[in-house]
């Protein structure tokens, strides 16, 4: 097989980008990481993602794949021989897809409102966020990972958001661990894996980034 050319267009603090980094790490795929400037977007990004002009974008042998969960599924299908993310049974696959979609619909949106909103809107976001994490705790049950004994699709979808928890907690003035100790325990367990710890960013650095964004957007 000819050597694959794999490039990831990304932004260091993006949890969506971290999903792809984690997926590539799990499969042991070598790739070139290309940090993008989202204020002055480069020609390559605009060419590879003309519709959304966003990261992450995976460029594999010159062909782009966009949207983080679509990229993760693509990686799973192309590099089939190692660490499958999705189970082989269609019903189990549907469950994994459902919960990854749940993370997209709930965790990101509520999380974003925690650091962009104030007052009642922020309180509502905090509640929605915690309620959603509790539903995820229920789904996790007694399993070490959502994927069972090994990291799977839902783990890849969710665990990068852990890096933003410190920012949510500090800005929202609440403790996620107090409400969802099981979920935090799960995140700690994931971080013990080298693929996870090397794909995820430092929460304190992410917090500084969020503070910078808030200043920039005039949210105080």
């Amino acid at each position: 097989m000819a050597s694959d050319q794999v490039t990831l267009l990304d932004l260091w603090a993006s949890p969506f980008g971290m999903r792809v980094r984690l997926a590539l790490a799990e499969k042991g795929v070598k790739y070139e990481y290309s940090e993008q400037d989202l204020v002055n977007k480069g020609a390559l990004l605009l060419q590879m993602n003309p519709v959304h002009k966003k990261i992450p974008v995976l460029v594999h042998n010159g062909k782009p794949v966009c949207e983080s969960l679509i990229i993760v599924q693509y990686i799973d299908e192309v590099w089939k021989d190692k660490a499958p993310f999705l189970p082989s049974d269609p019903y189990q696959r549907a469950q994994s897809r459902f919960w990854a979609d749940f993370v997209d619909k709930k965790i990101y949106d509520f999380g974003r409102k925690i650091w962009t909103e104030k007052g009642e809107d922020q309180e509502a976001a905090k509640k929605g966020f915690i309620d959603s994490l509790k539903l995820l705790e229920g789904e996790l049950g007694d399993k070490p990972y959502f994927g069972g004994e090994t990291i799977g699709y839902v783990d890849i979808a969710l665990v990068p958001f852990y890096t933003w928890f410190y920012a949510y907690e500090t800005i929202g003035n609440f403790s996620i661990e107090a409400e969802c100790p099981k979920l935090i325990g799960y995140c700690m367990r994931c971080l013990k894996k080298e693929t996870v710890s090397k794909s995820l960013e430092d929460p304190k650095k992410v917090y500084d980034f969020v503070v910078m964004l808030r200043k920039k957007f005039g949210i105080e």
């Binding site: 519709v51 594999h60 949207e67 299908e77 192309v78 019903y91 549907a94 897809r97 459902f98």
Partner: protein, 229 residues
């Protein structure tokens, strides 16, 4: 006593839901027999609420007792379980492309047309129209030269975008705004015709007059509780 278990497929839908319609299309395109449970979404059955505790919505697919929710998730399940008339291609990059356009349809096209145009008026609607046109341009480029988004046959993206081939005309008529114009979007307009008249699809559109009545009421209710102009 030995017996063979027949496939038991049940779809929970409402008569008008464009999301549930995707499931009806997919099952019929695969030649599958199934039971339909019609839900009144103003008075949801205990069974629906039990099956879809998280979102409490239609569609829900129940296959031999296994419950699957979320229309795009259900479509992938159907395609993986019944291999005839595949909705997704084999090639991973083409699969990613199909998923991309299905997601673009829901995240951007549907949002801009429904939320930005249909449920709005005045200046807000003008902005919604502009945003919708931008989104439709991308669809136009993608469909150009192809019969369906899936190529020669109906695929995942066609099913996800299929509401454009019936519901959009109704929305356009109610608000008096033409979005998919033959001149501006010739390829997309051609796809609409092709899809709307395709076997199976053409036999399963909900009643047009009933839809008009329903959506007129929804628009009025939404505008009524809006902020003053």
């Amino acid at each position: 006593m030995k017996y063979s278990m027949a496939e038991e497929i049940k779809v929970f839908r409402s008569w008008s839901s464009r999301f549930a319609l995707r499931i009806i299309w997919a099952l019929k395109l695969k030649g599958l027999e199934f039971d339909t449970v019609y839900e009144d979404l103003t008075n949801k059955s205990p069974l629906l609420l039990q099956y879809n505790q998280i979102h409490k919505k239609v569609p829900v697919l129940v296959h031999n007792g296994k419950v699957i929710c979320e229309s795009l998730v259900i479509l992938e399940y159907i395609d993986e379980t019944w291999k005839q008339n595949p909705l997704l291609p084999e090639d991973p990059h083409q699969q990613a492309n199909a998923r991309f356009w299905a997601k673009f349809g829901d995240d951007k096209v549907l949002q801009s047309i429904w939320g930005g145009v249909f449920l709005k008026e005045g200046k807000e609607q003008e902005e919604g129209v502009a945003a919708s046109m931008e989104n439709l341009k991308y669809l136009e480029e993608e469909i150009r030269g192809k019969k369906f988004f899936g190529g020669e046959t109906i695929g995942l993206a066609d099913i996800a975008l299929g509401w454009l081939a019936h519901y959009l005309d109704i929305f356009e008529e109610i608000v008096g705004v033409k979005l998919i114009d033959h001149e501006k979007f010739p390829s997309l307009a051609a796809w609409k015709q092709e899809f709307a008249n395709a076997p199976i699809i053409r036999e399963n559109w909900p009643d047009r007059d009933k839809l008009v009545t329903k959506y007129v009421a929804m628009r009025e209710a939404n505008l009524g509780k809006g902020t003053p102009k």
